[in-house]
């Protein structure tokens, strides 16, 4: 592939590259950070990256919102003029799921804080070993 080919590849899919970077950031935070809240934030970034990915699928160049007017009744709309509604539907669900996970994760973090008086993983493990 030529240099121009690579540049085209990068430009043509730039939304997807961004989601990959976001996803790696989230994953890295979950693996490398030792603070539980930071890990939870990483988890949220990970989930958001996926949402970005799905929503990117839905786009069509030059298309509009998936809301029809009543004048559209009775004839078939040209589907190229309206963006794909399905990924949006799916991501509504995914957002809710990530909120739910976040809620539970925070509740657990709160329990952990009450028990060990810290949210740093190393300190927690030290406490666990002590007892």
């Amino acid at each position: 592939m030529t240099t121009a080919g690579y540049i085209n590849l990068i430009i043509a899919k730039y939304n997807y590259w961004i989601y990959i970077v976001l996803m790696c950031i989230g994953l890295w935070a979950m693996i490398a950070k030792r603070n539980l809240i930071k890990k939870i934030i990483g988890m949220n970034i990970l989930q958001t990256a996926i949402i970005l990915f799905y929503v990117s699928i839905a786009t069509k160049k030059g298309a509009t919102l998936p809301i029809l007017g009543h004048h559209d009744a009775g004839h078939f709309v040209d589907y190229a003029t309206v963006i794909n509604p399905l990924p949006h539907v799916l991501m509504l669900t995914a957002i809710v799921v990530s909120v739910a996970t976040l809620g539970v994760a925070l509740a657990l973090a709160m329990k952990i804080y009450n028990r060990y008086d810290t949210l740093e993983e190393d300190e927690i493990h030290a406490r666990v070993r002590e007892s």
Binding site: L9, A12, K13, Y14, N15, Y16, W17, I20, M23, C24, L27, W28, I31, A32, S56, I57, A58, T59, K60, K61, G62, A63, L65, P66, I67, L68, G69, H70, D72, A73, F76, V77, Y79, A80, V82, N84, P85, L86, P87, H88, V89, L90, L92, T93, V96, V97, V99, A100, T101, G103, V104, L106, A107, L108, M110, K111, N114
Partner: protein, 278 residues
Amino acid sequence: MKRLGLLAVILFGALLVYGTTDFPDWGDPSSPAATHLSPYYIQHSLHDTAVPNIVTAVLADYRGYDTMFETAVIFTAGLACLFLLRVFITPKETEASGLYRHRATGITLRIGQGGRLPLGTREFERIDSQWVPYDLIIRTACSLVLPFIQLFALYVVAHGHHSPGGGFQGGVIFGAALILFAISHNLRTTLKAMPEKRTNILTGTGVLIYVGTGVLCLLLGGQFLDYAALAGLLGVDPVMARSHGILIVEIGVAIAVMAVMVSLYYNLASAGHMDEGL
């Protein structure tokens, strides 16, 4: 461990990049995702359900089952926080530890474990232990804004058929309004306006409206969540019945989401004690 993690992340990123090179271009209207299934929704949803907002139609009807479980997920999250955090040992009315302020003089008392209030509770009001100064401007401004937020929430729910919106969005806005109330006043005041028991019941009821609609369709001889079966009951034609059915479940979703938001806030803010927080 960190190196291993870095390796894993890099490998994972490489895999994603590898897959992405074969992706159709971003925004390509001829990609499979844009041509296989979604054209059906775009072209038929208005005809099938009489709902101009395709997202709402797909969300609450074609994939209404997903949405039902989505509501169940948020319900589960609320329940989970309640289960994990809620402290069920409630002190008796008379034995209340905490900080109290004499309404008339502004003198603050601290009452220890097992203590009693010196006089009738009328003259004293309980205040949070991390005391925030009483701020008239914030309280008043919030109180003024709140009705509008709530009204807007209702609009978002009701107008989900024609514009962006729906049960989730409306429910979240409504919940946010209550949380704003709690932040601007305090948790106890909010609890008086919206007791925990009520949020619990509303949480369940909201999802129950959704599931119940599905079961009702089933009892009326249709498939589960086949709103067309409600036509006879609602006195409209099957297509309009779908539209109405969507509205019914959206209301259920809104109630559930609103109640869960509030319940999550209650539990997280007060660490399950339901006395003070934020």
